[in-house]
Point group: C2
């Protein structure tokens, strides 16, 4: 049944003109299939050498200033009882991605899971039991092909908004982010150059804030207009779409990325992921991480520096302390005196601070005093 539907959906689609990126991904997918077929026809065991995504294969590259993967791989064989299912799943995900590219459509990773899940004919086995089984296979395919999942036409949940002095084209629609009212432009999951082109940008930098509520404060005060910038948020840990967009704004338009995050281990970690990449998904760093990003604040010294009152302190708990010590040991923080001081002072303070704490000074203190001062004085952590 599922198969029949697939065929009809491909058959009814108009003949597609593939973008250069789609062509490249398709040729990688076809090469993958060809290798398996060639092995089978030659009577050899088909296998895939999948770059290992374990922590031991992740390393910090001081020259590029990103987290990247090492060279170790794991062989996944069809004729190995322990690996046969994963082998099948990998080819199934590859087939699903090829189908999406051919159809000119995209799917959520949850959608792909549903699309590919079925009872294997003549058995009582499902291709996947849960999405948790499918997601790592998608990541395997990403590293195997050196293609971001967005290039495989897959997306995760979308979060995060943007306003500011930039005009972009999204799927053919021209969007002037300086005329997006109080709501803003909702950043899509897939922001690859085939979907989004930058048309005109007069902004001089990007201010990325942690939460939508803080973003709304900055937007209402027209910070981006007064300071000629772009304003983004990622609703907490920014999703891939937001990170990839920051990467493109930085690398293609040369815009500095300034991050305004909470003074707590979670804020440090958000910064770390934007700047160096994520440890779990190290393979994506070269196309996601922005090593030049700056941490504007909040800083552990801000309680004194801004003359905040005791009432805004939030006591550190055990999880915070443990996490802060972990983060201090990350190689990209371990070698930086300023970051060591920052994290030590957080622990010495014994409390954390949210960006909203600045509202206790004045509703617009954060937009009118704190942030402009940090930027004017180039007073940030690197």
């Amino acid at each position: 049944m599922a198969k029949k539907q697939t065929k009809s959906s491909t058959a009814t689609a108009a003949p597609r003109v593939f973008t250069a990126a789609d062509k490249e991904t398709l040729s990688k997918l076809e090469a993958l299939a060809d290798r398996v077929i060639a092995a089978a026809e030659a009577g050899r065991d088909p296998f895939l050498d999948i770059p290992s995504r374990t922590l031991s294969n992740v390393r910090w590259c001081p020259r590029k200033k990103i987290i990247e993967m090492g060279r170790s791989t794991n062989r996944r064989q069809l004729f190995n009882l322990h690996q046969a299912k994963a082998f099948m799943q990998t080819l199934l995900v590859a087939k699903g991605a090829a189908e999406l590219i051919h159809a000119g459509k995209t799917l959520s990773i949850r959608g792909l899971y549903y699309r590919l899940k079925h009872r294997i004919k003549g058995t009582s086995e499902n291709t996947f039991e849960t999405q948790e089984e499918c997601d790592p296979i998608i990541e395997d395919l990403e590293v195997l092909l050196d293609s971001l999942r967005e290039q495989l036409h897959l997306y995760a949940d979308k979060r995060g908004d943007m306003v500011g002095n930039i005009v972009l084209v999204d799927s053919g629609d021209e969007i002037d982010c300086s005329r997006m009212g109080s709501g803003g432009y909702a950043i899509p999951s897939i922001v690859e150059p085939e979907v989004i082109q930058f048309k005109k940008c007069t902004a001089k930098f990007v201010l990325h804030v942690e939460k939508g509520t803080v973003w709304t404060r900055f937007n209402e005060d027209k910070f981006w207009q007064k300071h000629n910038c772009i304003l983004t948020h990622g609703a907490g840990q920014p999703p891939r779409g937001v990170r990839r967009l920051l990467y493109r704004l930085h690398n293609e338009l040369g815009l500095p990325i300034y991050c305004l995050l909470d003074n707590d281990p979670w804020g440090y970690y958000i910064y770390s992921v934007i700047k160096q990449g994520s440890i779990n998904l190290a393979y994506e760093s070269p196309r996601m991480a922005v090593p030049d990003a700056k941490f504007l604040g909040l800083r552990s010294c801000d309680f004194e520096r801004c003359g905040l009152s005791d009432s805004v302190k939030i006591e550190l708990n055990q999880v915070d302390r443990r996490r802060a010590l972990q983060i201090a040991k990350y190689p990209w923080f371990a070698q930086k005196k300023e970051w060591q001081r920052e994290i030590k002072q957080l622990l010495d303070n014994g409390f954390k601070l949210e960006v909203e704490a600045l509202i206790s000074k004045d509703i617009s203190y954060v937009t009118e005093v704190y942030t402009p001062e940090r930027i004017a004085k180039r007073d940030w952590l690197d």
Copy 2:
């Protein structure tokens, strides 16, 4: 310190021209303050009669088809040891709201908490210890004044996006939702008529879906273009901004609201809140609930009707079963045979279904077959 800042922020603001809505809210706030002052000057104990937000004061109105509040109130007195702090907090929140309206600014409810939190002079008491103490006071003030928190210039987190055949004006910016690319217009928290005006709308209905990932599928397939509608999502339980916007689209533009949600108690509950209002915040129903909203699906009969395969079933757990039984007893579902059948079949099925399950049929089955069929046949639950 905090007080000084308040003054300066008010002093530096240009003389404001208040909107009619702001004038009305301000006069309510001033009347509240006047009553307290008058009582004090007359040597009487100041008090506030706050409509009771307990479950026992919430009732289902079959005529209006919304959940609404009864008439019982609780007296909150200044000269009562158990009530003095809450009395002070209520006036403090009222003062905060007045400050925001005077300044022409808005704040998140978390921001207001920080703004108002301080050590009370000469004591070791804080005005509020946590935001959990402040939020219910905001709700008290809303019912006391019969003003939505948006009218008090307060907002919650924003979530949810919109595209479709409507042109609106948001804070002076004209936004054509039919030219918003793959990302869409991010729905703000405050969508009151002072912020958002509908300029032109050719859409014939609103399709509201549960999640951003499903919304992306519909947007990519240009469903709103083919079926001349508006497409919204609320990232799960829709936040107030999205609900209020659906209310306005329905009541001001006469658009039917169709909901496409998961076939599980959570999906039923999202529908219930959109349609009848929330039990906890019953006082907002008259300005938020859309009693005419329709539940397009997914339905418990869809597994058979759409010929889905076993692999998409998700087994009901104990929480699901308990929640389904609770929802079946809600008065607005209890009296409807169709809903009783729907919930009974869910329990009989023993499994739930996500909207994404339809992807197993075909990538675009939900946009090309399922949803158009339901709408064409007017096949929905009311």
